[in-house]
């Protein structure tokens, strides 16, 4: 059987590979790419993968997304790998690293938390990994979240 590329190569830009299957749209949301952004984005979901069974891939053309920004993806896709592409070649390749502290990405599920009031406040969380699960602890009220992808703003 003839091998086919699911999505075409990009000449220049950022490729985010090994995203947990079904999480590509959430990755774009974390990166702030959505309605109103003019970036050319190609996206593949549920692509067969040797390592992961199924995975998602996101390619953002003509844009090198910063490492700190990309590391936020680790919240929902801890195994994601990043390829920065120049002239169709991989210029730099790295794995995302979980940031120890994040601001403005998650909301606190505790309805009685100050971050869910009318006060001018950005939610902040301490992040840690336990048994391969990402745990986020609210900087303000201390509430711990295990299912972080449900609370992406």
């Amino acid at each position: 059987m003839k091998k086919e590329l699911v999505i075409s190569k990009i000449e220049r830009g950022t490729v985010i590979d090994h995203i947990n299957a079904g999480k590509a749209l959430l990755v774009l949301r974390i990166l702030g790419i959505g309605v109103g952004s003019s970036d050319t984005v190609t996206l593949a979901m549920n692509v067969p993968s040797k390592k992961m069974g199924r995975k998602d891939i996101v390619k953002v053309a003509n844009k090198f997304i910063g490492e700190e920004e990309l590391n936020k993806i680790a919240l929902i896709a801890p195994k994601a790998t990043i390829n920065l592409i120049e002239n169709y070649d991989v210029k730099k390749k790295f794995k995302v690293k979980l940031p120890p502290f994040i601001e403005g990405i998650l909301r606190c599920p505790n309805r009685n938390c100050i971050t869910n009031s009318k006060e001018p406040v950005t939610p902040k969380f301490y992040i840690k990994l336990r048994n391969d699960n990402v745990l986020a602890k609210c900087y303000y009220c201390g509430k711990v979240i295990g299912n972080v992808d449900e609370f992406v703003i």
Partner: protein, 297 residues
């Protein structure tokens, strides 16, 4: 100054806690009126209580005044009119320009941490919703130190509402830090949340099993509103009630309670050698003196 604000007991190291307890000891004579000190003369404390409080507010006021400082109060009624319009952030920005230290109690969790971000002066958390109440924890530890002679290596039972009690949530972490053996005694529906059980070493037991060996019995109030109906509440509350008879098999144990009690400790206990809850309320004064001294000088 070891810390600028006091928001959560988690922000303090074991060393910081010992430092405050030792300092409180030095202020005890002043708290008892045996000695006079004016080291906080010219300083003003603002009590911002968005929720009612008697003991905490008054003991902060007493602590400040006994060290020569002055106090301004915002009552719950004034607080509610502020809450209608102004943000907490703005209230804090304004008041921190008037005073030298702010003591805050607010119904939202995380409010004290948030207030400290907007304040030009130290902020002390006097309870944020079901969150933290660090000065209560410090006075609890002080009571244990004074009455048991140490805060380490003791057997301590926490009894009552372990699910919603912020006092218990703060205290249990501190007790764990000091290598105490912790026993938990509560109705099934008011057990300590799993997230705490993962962080601290504690055993769930019945009072009967441990009454002869424990050094401290820390009792908390079981609130009626936590139960679906009155009958269920009465059944549970009745089985978690301490009387002089309950303590007959006890040895040197002390009974503590953050107060106010409703009927979880019978007045028959008051006259026994075990009752230390009123002393505990007094110890709030030297401990708060130590905290005010720490953040103001």
């Amino acid at each position: 100054m070891r810390f600028r604000h006091l928001i959560s007991i988690d922000d303090l190291s074991k060393d910081d806690i010992i430092h405050i307890l030792r300092k409180a000891e030095k202020f005890e004579d002043v708290a008892r009126g045996l000695k006079k000190l004016n080291i906080l003369e010219g300083k003003i404390l603002a009590n911002l209580f968005f929720e009612p409080s008697t003991r905490t507010r008054m003991s902060f006021e007493t602590a400040m005044k006994k060290l020569g400082g002055d106090v301004i109060n915002m009552t719950a009624q004034e607080a509610s009119s502020i809450a209608k319009g102004e943000t907490l952030a703005d209230t804090i920005k304004v008041i921190s320009k008037y005073v030298d230290v702010i003591v805050i109690r607010h119904p939202l969790e995380g409010s004290a941490r948030f207030a400290s971000e907007h304040s030009e002066v130290p902020v002390i958390n006097a309870g944020d919703g079901a969150g933290q109440h660090p000065t209560q924890t410090l006075l609890d530890l002080y009571t244990i130190m004074k009455e048991c002679g140490r805060v380490e290596g003791l057997k301590i039972a926490l009894m009552g509402d372990l699910k919603y009690s912020r006092t218990v949530h703060s205290l249990i972490k501190a007790l764990n830090m000091f290598n105490n053996r912790i026993y938990l005694i509560s109705p099934e529906s008011l057990r300590l949340p799993e997230e705490f059980l993962e962080e601290v070493r504690a055993e769930e037991v019945s009072l009967d099993e441990v009454i002869e060996e424990i050094d401290v019995l820390y009792v908390t109030r079981i609130q009626k509103e936590r139960f679906p109906d009155e009958e269920e509440y009465r059944k549970v509350a009745g089985s978690y009630r301490i009387t002089a008879e309950t303590l007959e098999r006890a040895k040197e144990l002390i009974v503590m309670h953050p107060l106010p009690r409703v009927d979880e400790i019978d007045i028959s206990v008051d006259k026994t050698k075990h009752a230390k809850y009123f002393d505990q309320a007094f110890y709030g004064v030297p401990v708060r003196m130590a905290i005010l001294h720490e953040v103001l000088l």
